[in-house]
């Protein structure tokens, strides 16, 4: 905000210079402090250098006069150099203390009481869990992290395969998720909106397509969303969607995906209980439309080569019915 709010390209989504969360704001303050101090000092040094060069210029035809020194001149030089050194040391300390205060503020956030969200990095998508003491209210979704604004969020994360890094630049700094090691960080989102984030640690072929959205909304909207997500999937009601569910349960889908309320309960791939309520598929890669979903089911390898989704050959009728069923999973 302070530095570049008005410069196009720096003020938008997925930018650390447009903080919408408490952690990113702290970091951005330090960035602004260091940016302005170093920029001003750089400009001053350049101005002094240009003046010095200009004052001591001479023609190429004549030899330069030998340098002469005078006592008052030496004293002035000593004072100027000494003064600049003192200013430099003071400014370095200002930046040091600024940086220290930022770390302290970020560290303090970790002590706040916070709502826990579990996030697991997979090749190449994010599994999101909202734990609850009552098991039937446990919510599991993928790539779309709904959060209430102004509430501290305890992100408890790890990786299911290789090292990933969780980074929503508008909200907080990045956090590495290591396999076999659990990471905890507290963050807070203060502005409603869809804040895009991405994996920030190279993790294989589709690293660049491993994105997610932090959907920040008011507390009441969030509670409603959470209650909806805790429900089992809508049962299929007409002949087409009933057949679609049969296709789902008798094809490869059932090997990896969960649809709560049906016999599909595998946790290899994303939970599809409320697939139709999500705005994107394939970890933020494609808008969640019928056409994209059809392409993704038939041959995901053409869209996201290397992803864990195998090609699924089926007849046109089966596919249409399956799509109709998936679209009822609101």
């Amino acid at each position: 905000m302070i530095v570049t709010a008005n410069i196009p390209g720096f003020s938008g989504n997925q930018s650390a210079l447009n903080p919408t969360g408490a952690g990113a704001a702290h970091t951005e303050h330090t960035f602004a402090l260091i940016f302005w101090i170093t920029s001003i000092v750089y400009c001053l040094v350049m101005i002094v250098l240009v003046i010095a060069v200009f004052r001591h210029r001479h023609s190429l035809d004549t030899l330069p006069e030998p340098q002469t020194t005078t006592d008052p001149g030496d004293r002035f030089a000593a004072k100027a150099v000494g003064g600049a050194m003192v200013v430099t040391v003071v400014l370095l300390f200002v930046m040091l203390i600024g940086s220290f205060l930022t770390s302290r503020a970020l560290g303090k956030m970790n002590n706040e009481p916070a709502m826990t969200i579990n996030i697991y990095g997979h090749q190449w998508w994010w599994e999101v869990e909202y734990p609850n003491d009552e098991p039937y209210k446990y919510v599991r979704t993928a790539n779309e992290i709904h959060v209430p604004i102004g509430v501290s969020l305890h992100i408890h994360g790890t990786s299911r395969d290789v090292i990933h890094s969780f980074w929503a630049p508008n909200v907080h700094g990045k956090r590495d998720f290591m396999p076999g090691y659990e990471t905890d960080v507290v963050m807070r989102v203060d502005q409603p909106g869809r804040w895009r984030g991405q994996c920030a640690e190279y993790c294989g072929e589709q690293h660049a397509h491993m994105s997610f959205y932090m959907v920040a909304e008011s507390k009441s909207e969030f509670q409603k969303w959470l209650a909806d997500q805790a429900q089992s999937a809508n049962p299929p009601l007409n002949a087409q969607t009933i057949h679609g569910q049969q296709v789902f349960l008798t094809h490869a889908c059932v090997m990896c995906h969960t649809v709560r309320g049906s016999t599909a309960a595998s946790r290899v791939g994303p939970d599809l209980t409320h697939l139709a309520s999500r705005a994107t598929i394939a970890a933020g890669m494609l808008p969640n439309t019928t056409g994209n979903l059809a392409g993704w089911i038939m041959n995901a390898q053409a869209i996201k080569p290397g992803s864990r989704m195998p090609p699924n050959q089926m007849s046109g009728t089966d596919l249409q019915d399956l799509l109709a069923y998936l679209e009822t999973l609101l």
Binding site: P179, H251, A252, V254, M255, P311
Partner: protein, 182 residues
Amino acid sequence: MKCPLPFALVPFLLLASGCKREQRVFDPGANDSRVAESVPLNEVHVGNSGSPPANLKYQESAYAVSEGKRLYMAYNCVGCHMHGGGGIGPALMDAEWIYGSKLEQIHSDIVQGRPNGMPSFQGRIPDYQVWEIASYVRSLSGQLPSDIAPSRSDEMPVAKAEQARKKEHPSDESPQKIQKAP
């Protein structure tokens, strides 16, 4: 002649039980008319060997075999066969192969299922994944060359890497000799 009546009934009862057996189906339907496609567990064939060829290209790719290792966990083979040591299901890292040690035999074990617990994965997983899993299963007992067998695990390793295992020698490894009549 004692009790002539029961004795007289016996042939009729036998005939009655044979009624169903004598029912003749001339048209078994298109589905049943296809040539039976499975894998012989024996070297001796009637006529030429008509078994589908083994899809060896997966067994020759280290990537495919390591994908097989991942799928072995993902599809919960590990739940019964453990990491090769066996438990609910038989061990896969030894030299004992109930249904044969060849790639295509393991493929049909997975697709068809086997009695006493091995479920059929027919129609549930793409064929290429079955070949990948079958290739990995062979690496568990050191059947694959060390440049193809996996060298590491995503989980904490519980046994020697597949790559470093000594090759087991299943009894069906060399072709059976057909015994000559004396």
